[in-house]
Subunit: 347 residues, 2 copies
């Protein structure tokens, strides 16, 4: 996308970006020369800066200010310049063990991971629940609770337990329930979620009607609930560390602070935002974001995959002036962690 740039320009650009990430202020040639001992003078730096600006990698807030990196500049940095990944903290293994002992519900794991990630990077973290697309039903159980209530339990091949209380309009005898349980379990166990199509359900419905003599109402209802559990289109998302935003100098004015906080309140849009990505790891810088209100933010999102099927997303939302190396490796690490934890608890 961009032609090669000279080694010296690269040096200058990298220094500017690092300095800006550190200070959040426009970087001037003088400061740069003082802090980094280059073997060329401020005047030379100024010339390079002017070139870099012309190439679109730097911007000037106003004529008499220093330079700040443009989105394109950050992009160049992320793609080609940055280095230094985080090594995995050793204490993590212990933490992981502790965690999977205490928390086993999906909820708990998700929110704990959001907490962990945001604590690591000191930016807002976002985690989305795994979808069930590729996973199979490994167990299905109907438990009677009261005369008109059943507890439907579906365990999927990735080890996740889903349950839902179903209110029935009419009673079921114990035998009827047993029959129902047996048939459903037999027919649905081992099925991939995707295989449970309209026509498959139709057939199942007919079989149930034939072999048992319930009203169609109950059967319909059960089907709804089962598919409801698994094909739920709205994967829940978890946010943590929202208040880190308050500490970022770029959001130190009411207008932009309000703008970003309002976005974080609209979970629906956030879900789409992280769901719509294609690659395993994506970095969206500033205006690369589709969401208008997030165009002075960056988003780093990774995909996690569960053994036995199902994928979800982990990400970080922060200012474009973000410590990309650290954030990227932390997000990566967290994605890995999530699959490990869920897989472990699901074995």
């Amino acid at each position: 996308m961009l032609a090669e740039i000279s080694g010296r320009k690269e040096k200058v650009l990298k220094a500017i970006i690092q300095e800006h990430i550190l200070t959040a202020e426009p970087v001037g040639s003088r400061t740069l020369a003082r802090k980094y001992d280059f073997d060329f003078s401020p005047a030379t730096i100024r010339n390079e800066m002017a070139d870099l600006e012309e190439m679109g990698l730097l911007e000037q807030p106003h004529t008499s200010a220093g330079r700040i990196p443009s989105d394109k500049g950050y992009r160049f940095y992320v793609d080609r310049l940055m280095e230094g990944k985080l090594e995995k903290p050793v204490s993590l293994k212990k933490y992981l063990k502790e965690l999977s002992r205490q928390k086993s519900g999906l909820e708990d794991i998700m929110s704990e991971m959001a907490r962990l990630l945001s604590g690591m990077v000191k930016y807002t973290a976002i985690v989305s629940e795994p979808g069930f697309a590729e996973s199979k039903i490994s167990r299905l159980e109907l438990l009677p609770i009261s005369k008109r209530k059943l507890l439907l339990i579906v365990i999927t091949s990735n080890g996740l337990v889903n349950n839902k209380v179903i209110n029935l309009e009419s009673k079921l005898t114990e035998e009827e329930l047993d029959d129902l349980n047996r048939i459903l379990s037999k027919r649905l166990t081992g099925k991939k979620i995707q295989e449970i199509t309209e026509s498959f359900l139709q057939k199942l419905e007919e079989e149930l009607k034939r072999r048992l003599n319930y009203t169609a109402r109950i059967i319909k209802r059960l089907e709804e609930e089962i598919t409801g559990i698994l094909a739920k289109e709205e994967m829940k998302i978890y946010l943590d560390g929202t208040s880190y935003i308050l500490e970022q100098p770029e959001f130190n004015d009411l207008k932009s602070l309000k703008k970003i906080l309002k976005v974080l309140d609209r979970k629906e849009e956030l879900r789409r935002l992280v769901a719509d990505l294609e690659d395993e790891l994506e970095v969206k810088i500033g205006t690369e974001n589709k969401l208008q209100e997030m165009q002075n933010c960056s988003l780093v999102v990774a995909t996690y995959k569960l053994q036995g099927g199902g994928t979800g997303r982990v990400g970080v939302i922060g200012p474009t002036r973000m410590e990309y190396p650290r954030v990227i490796s932390s997000v990566d690490l967290t994605a890995e962690l999530i699959s490990k934890i869920i897989s472990r608890s699901g074995r």
Copy 2:
């Protein structure tokens, strides 16, 4: 606490508070006289204002500004002056029906209620999960998932379903599990949560050891999990409508906005805040709040009670300049709604 005040003073105070709630600005004698057609002049109002200020019910930001109500003023208003409760919206019944069809998990209900309340009052809403203190175990089931994993399901008398995956260190045969299931179910069903004491568990443990020959390890583990589910000290809390805060003029400066937003991020403290109240319905105005950072906010909290035991809290957090009548009745209504919904889904 406060002596009676004259009818005219009452009129003036009430008008000032209502006007201030509306505009968020200090209220002057002139404006007041214009808007409310009293049968006395601005000069008289000024005299009354001076008196009210001396009584501590009003404050003056600076000498040449109008008056604003003090916390004490609001307290007087809430205790004696305000009127006009909200009548229940008729559409609510339909909504309630729709809701309990779609959502049955505690999670869903809680977050939906927070959403509903914050939408009604246009302030931040807070809901805490019910505790199990007074409820009984009405059903207990251990479901095998895999060789080393069990699903523990506990249904309490208030109709709530709790489940947790338990990872075992060693395998259990089917018969062993059946035995375990039977004994646990027999011993624990019908027990109040409070009755499951240390000594009770000790006895249970001995019985299990006598009648089955597992390692003490497994038994210990199961007990931990069961008590863990029910006696969890940290009831989850749900927030919604955080961004309404952004629209309040009193938080239109960075400092106070940050202060309040940071508090809302500390779930732990919020939980304690709503848990520590004594009455069924409490209104904490400004400095009446224990939390230092919330002393220019008001908190309206109601208690909801579940059939079959268990109580939790619903509340609203907003500026002290809050529409108390509307908020109080909305909070009340929501508390009622929560018990109804859970009781309904739990019958």
